[in-house]
């Protein structure tokens, strides 16, 4: 068989109730590849699809893939879990150091189940496991939590991964995130709240195992070198390193596709001042990378704030990307970049998904202007462009001081159901991502597996000339399958133009997985279907998902929305998914 080189998959299963773990060796799971499909298969085995997302037995499943660490940009981790936000099985992905820390701990997946009686954090890796008291960390912000753990834990200094939640996760805000290594996140759909429900404040992973190269190492070294050269030599990845994803701000603004002031507009007069160019010239300190990626797309900006009457400043380093900038910038009518950075830092400290947080506040601002809520609810007179008010409102989402903020922390749609304004809630399964490109994107996020712009990239098709219905359906299915292949390896999706099917087959084969390299299209068609089935078992029903009125009224790059086309596509895509 293909697999003389690799031992069976190793899964660590942590039981927080007992503060203990066990290891499982699973050759049978090899055919699931890894990442997305491995996590889904493990959810079928260990999940409780019919139970509430906060049920103690629900697992958090972190999975890497067969190529993690073997090639450049094989640097991501998939987290599969039942979302308290959407109420079904979802994924969220993150980079940082975690993927390599798991690889060199000898773990292919880490499952965390149970609920601890007291706050705890986990310290684990290839030769150690401990479940420790975290009473002293509970209530701390995400940054200070990690600093405290770094000081008290000796293992793997300078080369380890630390996941943690902020107070928003502890308070079960349904879009609380998990911060990974300060600058990356399992951002969306409330994985941080699931950690909070388990009384799990943080997880530190460090590993330093070494593995022999496949075969005599010759073919693998050669394939590695070719891929490395394509990535660093061809300019294919330059945009991610140079301005980074915020290069999109001006592009989308020019295309009438930058969601602005709760999507009441699609161009923003302040776009220049929140653009990738502005950030790069005024605020960029440096770029860093996820472990195992030579691109370095993580843009770190300088936040410098005056805190005293004299020349007294503090400074912080805050990572920025297109999505956070749209959510805390144009969506809130806010510029310049310096002001956006203040809000990004605020969301970071509390441990909130910055996209949902910004979009929820944009809805709240419009709801206030429409008289649906007053200052008794919002506590501050929310108004577009007012940074200080938004800063206080972000803290209120995390701390839930009244019924309004409690509901806003359940999601924009939950608040709109109580106060009205559902027609302008910018929710596509979850709060929208920063692409108002048109109907294909709106449908693809609303119905997508993780309700994300990353599921099937409908925004790319919107930018081509108006597609036919059948063409759009084929596109969404194929794009999703190709992305599933990458998220099973687990590659960063920025490398999607490098890792085409042929390259993936070569890479798998050279890494000692010749069997897995056969018939990738057939294999991933099956895995695609299976992953949807697992989602549907957990309560997902595509026929129940609707697209709010605001998305029908908005002007995009194609002009006024073709609402009839969007509705046809929504219904046809929902039917397709229902048939899997």
């Amino acid at each position: 068989m293909e697999n003389n080189h690799h031992p069976p998959l190793t899964i660590m299963i942590v039981d927080l109730e007992r503060g203990a773990c066990r290891l499982q060796k699973r050759e049978d799971l090899r055919e699931k590849m890894g990442g997305s499909s491995l996590a889904a298969a493990l959810y079928r085995e260990y999940g409780q699809p019919g139970e509430d997302a906060f049920a103690p037995g629900q697992p958090l499943i972190f999975a890497i893939g067969p190529l993690t660490g073997y090639y450049p940009l094989m640097s991501k981790v998939v987290l599969g879990f039942k979302s308290p936000y959407s109420g079904d099985y979802v994924e969220t992905h993150a980079g940082g150091r975690l993927a390599l820390a798991l690889r060199f701990s000898g773990l292919d997946a880490l499952i965390i189940r149970g609920q601890s009686p007291r706050p705890v954090y986990l310290v684990l890796g290839d030769n150690h496991f401990a479940c420790k008291e975290a009473g002293h960390l509970w209530g701390m912000d995400a940054g200070i939590t990690a600093r405290t753990i770094r000081t008290s834990e000796p293992q793997g200094r300078g080369q380890r991964s630390i996941l943690r939640i902020g107070p928003a996760g502890e308070n079960l805000v349904k879009y609380a995130c998990i911060n990974v290594d300060t600058f990356r996140h399992f951002g969306r759909l409330g994985a941080g709240a699931v950690m909070g429900s388990k009384k799990l404040k943080a997880v530190m992973v460090s590993g330093s195992r070494s593995f022999p190269l496949p075969g005599d190492g010759k073919e693998y070294r050669q394939v590695y070198r070719q891929i490395y050269q394509r990535i660093t030599g061809s300019g294919a990845m330059a945009k991610y390193h140079d301005l980074g994803t915020p290069v999109n701000v001006l592009v989308l603004n020019g295309l009438h596709s930058l969601p602005t002031r709760n999507l009441s507009a699609t161009t923003f007069e302040g776009a220049e001042q929140i653009s990738g160019e502005y950030f790069a010239e005024k605020l960029l300190l440096r770029q860093i990378a996820c472990s195992g990626c030579p691109v370095g797309c993580i843009h770190i900006g300088l936040l410098r704030e005056k805190f005293g009457p004299e020349h007294e400043y503090y400074y912080k380093q805050v990572s920025y990307d297109h999505e956070p900038i749209f959510a805390m910038g144009s969506m809130l009518g806010l510029a310049p970049g310096e002001a956006v950075m203040l809000l990004l830092d605020e969301a970071e400290k509390w441990g909130l998904d910055v996209i949902s947080c910004g979009v929820a506040l944009a809805w709240a601002t419009e709801a206030r202007a429409a008289g649906l809520v007053g200052e008794a609810e919002t506590l501050v007179p929310l108004a577009f462009g007012e940074v200080e008010l938004y800063r206080r409102a972000i803290a209120a989402i995390a701390t839930r001081p009244n019924e309004f903020y409690r509901l806003l922390g359940e999601g924009t749609a939950a608040a709109a159901a109580r106060y009205g304004g559902a027609e302008f809630a910018c929710v596509l399964g979850q709060e929208m991502a920063g692409y108002a490109t048109g109907p294909v994107f709106f449908v693809s996020q609303a119905l997508g597996f993780r309700y994300s712009h990353l599921d099937s990239a409908g925004y790319q098709l919107d930018q081509q000339k108006k597609p036919e219905l059948a063409q759009a359906l084929v596109y969404l299915e194929k794009e999703e399958r190709q992305r599933l292949m990458l998220t099973c390896l687990v590659a960063c999706l920025f490398a999607r133009n490098i890792y085409d099917e042929e390259t993936v087959a070569t890479a798998l084969s050279a890494a000692g997985f010749a069997g897995l390299a056969q018939d990738l299209e057939g294999r991933f068609s099956l895995l695609q279907r299976e992953r949807w089935q697992i989602k549907k078992e957990s309560g997902y029903d595509p026929s129940r998902i609707s697209i709010p009125l605001r998305f029908q009224e908005v002007k995009t790059l194609q002009g006024p929305m073709d609402t009839a086309f969007m509705e046809k596509l929504r219904s046809a895509y929902a039917e397709k998914i229902a048939g899997y």
Partner: protein, 136 residues
């Protein structure tokens, strides 16, 4: 002219570990981010930047002085040290003797891992943080 490895611009480092993984892959035949003659780490979280430990090719190397078996010997021309596996006791005296902690004991083989100044990591640094530099 003889050259040695120097981390000439660590302020540019993005923390990708491509250099360490190149050393592991090309020198040690391993997939690893620890079995490497150069060791990159963050210094106080990712906000504080990265530093690299590697053999600085000391004159009169202290690691050679403490090696009881002669497994480590000085290379001619001050190009660091030579390691002979078959002579090594795995006592790790060299690990403690290195003033810049550039020698690490491999967890699995117990052998010292030390930079050979071969330069094979250099082309894999995307930001030219590393260079082979001529000896004075």
């Amino acid at each position: 002219m003889a050259k040695v490895l120097r981390a000439v611009a660590m302020e540019r480092c993005i923390g990708c570990y491509a250099c360490m993984m190149a050393c592991a892959r090309l020198v040690h035949g391993s997939l690893s981010w620890s079995r490497s003659g150069i060791y990159v780490r963050s210094v106080g979280g990712l906000t504080a930047g990265f530093e690299a430990s590697y053999c600085l090719a000391c004159p009169r190397p202290p690691c050679v002085a403490v090696c009881p078996t002669g497994a480590l010997t000085e290379r001619p021309g001050g190009r660091g040290v030579r390691y002979q596996r078959e002579l090594c006791l795995r006592c790790a005296a060299c690990v403690g003797a290195c003033p810049v902690k550039a020698i690490r004991q491999d967890r699995e083989t117990l052998e010292p891992v030390v930079c050979l100044h071969c330069g094979r990591c250099v082309p894999f640094c995307p930001h030219a943080c590393l260079a082979m530099v001529a000896m004075d």
